[in-house]
């Protein structure tokens, strides 16, 4: 082996050490500064997610946007894939011309795509699967003077089977109170509209009808007990026809 390499001067070791500590503190704070749970919470009469530790959040508030984000190392390492219960999701896009005729149907993920591309396609589809639980207001919401009544967009079942859902915008006061109500998140709608625009541009379609098919994973309890028929049947959620 060659002679030992050159050694560093003391000042460089000190400066480098400070840089190392600062960098790793930023990385560790990023890892800690993620909400956890949901955990049992007596205060919430059930379970609720908990905020990250204050010290980590305080450091992260500075280092994540001001340092790690520019290094492309901004991450909490709380991987979504750590959650084993992920529903299966695929998208069906019906491309229509100006007369409303279906000119093409696109599936995402594409069964014929290579595995690497399919992961990306599945990721986009998964992004359209994160519904929000929408709580009805505790008391009647009254709009301010000259203000419109607050509206929300929810998934509405087409029939009693709850296997087909459509988007419906309704007054917040008229939200159903006899069942859990879910609606698309803002992020989902951004993704849906953008993907529909892309398909319309690419294929020369006037409108795109976007349908999400999802299936809840089969629970391991099925090894011991029967579930009601249709418990794991796929559900279709129609985003409607999205403009170009």
């Amino acid at each position: 082996m060659a002679q030992a390499g050159s050694v560093l001067p003391g000042w460089l070791v000190v400066v480098s050490s400070l840089a190392i500590i600062g960098h790793l503190v930023a990385v560790a704070a990023g890892a800690l500064a993620a909400p956890s749970g949901p955990w049992p919470s007596p205060a919430m009469l059930g379970s609720a997610p908990y905020a990250p530790p204050y010290f980590a959040a305080a450091i992260n508030q500075v280092t994540m946007p001001g340092y790690l984000a520019y290094l492309k190392l901004a991450h909490t390492y709380h991987f979504a894939t750590n959650n084993p219960i992920m529903p299966g999701i695929y998208l069906e896009a019906r491309l229509r011309d100006a007369q409303g005729q279906v000119i093409k149907t696109v599936l995402l993920p594409d069964p014929d795509a290579n595995p690497w591309l399919r992961v990306r396609q599945a990721q986009l589809a998964r992004g359209l699967g994160e519904d929000e639980n929408i709580q009805p207001p505790a008391s009647e919401v009254i709009a301010g003077p000259n203000q419109p009544t607050p509206m929300v967009t929810i998934w509405e079942p087409v029939d009693q089977s709850f296997q087909k859902l459509v988007l419906r915008t309704t007054q917040q006061n008229l939200l159903p109170r006899d069942r859990p109500v879910f609606g698309p998140s803002g992020w989902m709608m951004v993704l849906a509209r953008s993907y529909a625009r892309h398909l319309a541009r690419t294929h020369g379609a006037a409108r795109v009808e976007l349908i999400r098919h999802h299936q809840e994973p089969i629970q391991p309890n099925i090894l011991y007990q029967d579930f009601p028929a249709g418990a794991f049947d796929p559900v279709s959620s129609n985003f409607g026809e999205l403009p170009r």
Partner: protein, 375 residues
């Protein structure tokens, strides 16, 4: 802990006190073969990530693609999550793709330039320049489109960053470099390092590998702790969902397993707890040479599991590369010599064996801590 300063990938002992151990851990010059291996592995991983996406560049990355310019504007207006999670586009900062705009032509130019740069880095050509360009271009692609961002992508950014740090500093000290070497990097980084008198020990290689090791350990432990937030990991049924994935397995398939449920649940729960144990105890064994088989076995099992069971093509190779960063130069030289011997490459086998012996001998005769002026 070994007494060898070349065994820089072993956990630091407290011999000489904390400061000495700290300096030895971070700033000990080492044979740079470990950095070269990580560079080559990372280069292949970048290509594995990029090349299969070549067919739909505009859709995946273009500002007229799946996530278009209007979507960026709409997403930027989304409010941050009250629990502290930021909007998916809040941390995007920069990407060369944003400069390319809607042009499929310039996007293709950027993409194929990235491929060429990554190939050059992987081979070890002009590493100081190509390491920087690789980081800039690869992370431009991995972090450009939030609609297709996947968990494993962060590993590419992590590898690209530390490989860049290593090769930016590699070869700056020691021999007086020419201006060309200042700009492009030393010429002895070709493949696994070529130099007739042997590879020169490098502080930069140690520093970059140490940073990668600690960062990788933080990732492994954090993701292990995160798994504990889900009841299915505690109950040992987390892997069940990979056995009967939605849209692929039917209720009838699952019911068929009732006859073997004890053995199914035994295997699945044991496997889940082995995964958790490996992740949560990772820092304890990752730096210890005697536990190297456990480190490598975990990486290989992770590779097979994520690729063939979960169908995630990036996680597995990333685990292997991250795990490989902990191997010492002696281990690399010994393994490579054995591989060369098996392949009938006697010349290479003898040379690598000599390097391994040289590392060990140098280790035995060199002061473990050196602080002072440049000789």
């Amino acid at each position: 802990m070994k007494s060898s300063p070349f065994a820089a990938n072993d956990f630091p002992s407290a011999n000489g006190g904390f400061v000495a151990a700290w300096v030895r851990f971070w700033f000990q010059p080492i044979d740079p073969i470990g950095l070269h291996v990580v560079r080559i592995g990372s280069g292949f991983l970048f290509l594995l990530w990029l090349l299969p996406l070549a067919g739909d560049l505009n859709g995946l990355f273009g500002l007229g693609g799946w996530f278009d310019r209007q979507a960026y504007a709409e997403a930027a207006r989304l409010a941050d999550n009250p629990m502290g999670q930021t909007s998916p586009v809040a941390l995007l900062t920069w990407s060369l793709i944003y400069l390319v705009g809607d042009s499929p032509f310039w996007l293709a130019v950027l993409y194929w330039t990235t491929i060429v740069v990554v190939v050059m880095l992987t081979l070890g050509v002009a590493t100081r320049l190509t390491a920087v360009l690789t980081w800039v271009t690869v992370t431009s692609f991995t972090s450009a489109n939030p609609a297709i961002a996947f968990d494993a992508d962060i590993f590419l950014n992590v590898f690209a960053w530390y490989v860049m740090v290593g090769y930016l500093l590699f070869g700056l000290r020691g021999r007086e470099p020419t201006w060309r070497q200042w700009l492009l990097g030393p010429t002895d980084a070709w493949l696994l390092g070529r130099s007739e008198e042997g590879r020169r020990p490098s502080v930069a290689a140690n520093l970059a590998l140490r940073l990668l090791q600690v960062h990788f350990a933080i990732i492994v432990v954090t993701t292990g702790l995160h798994k504990l937030q889900f009841g299915d990991w505690w109950s040992g049924t987390a892997l069940w969902y990979a056995v009967v994935p939605p849209f692929q397995a039917t209720v009838a398939d699952a019911v068929q397993l009732r006859d073997r449920r004890e053995s199914v649940l035994m295997i699945l729960s044991l496997s889940a707890y082995v995964i958790l144990a490996w992740q949560l105890t990772f820092p304890w064994f990752a730096w210890r040479r005697r536990w190297r088989p456990l480190l490598l076995l975990g990486g290989v099992v992770g590779l097979l599991g994520t690729v063939f069971v979960f169908r995630y093509p990036i996680f597995g190779p990333a685990l292997v590369i991250g795990g490989a960063s902990y191997a010492t130069p002696e281990e690399w030289n010994t393994w490579l010599a054995a591989s060369a011997r098996r392949l009938g490459l006697r010349h290479w086998a003898d040379r690598l064996a000599a390097l391994a012996d040289g590392s060990a001998q140098a280790a035995a005769h060199r002061p473990s801590v050196a602080l002072g002026p440049r000789p």
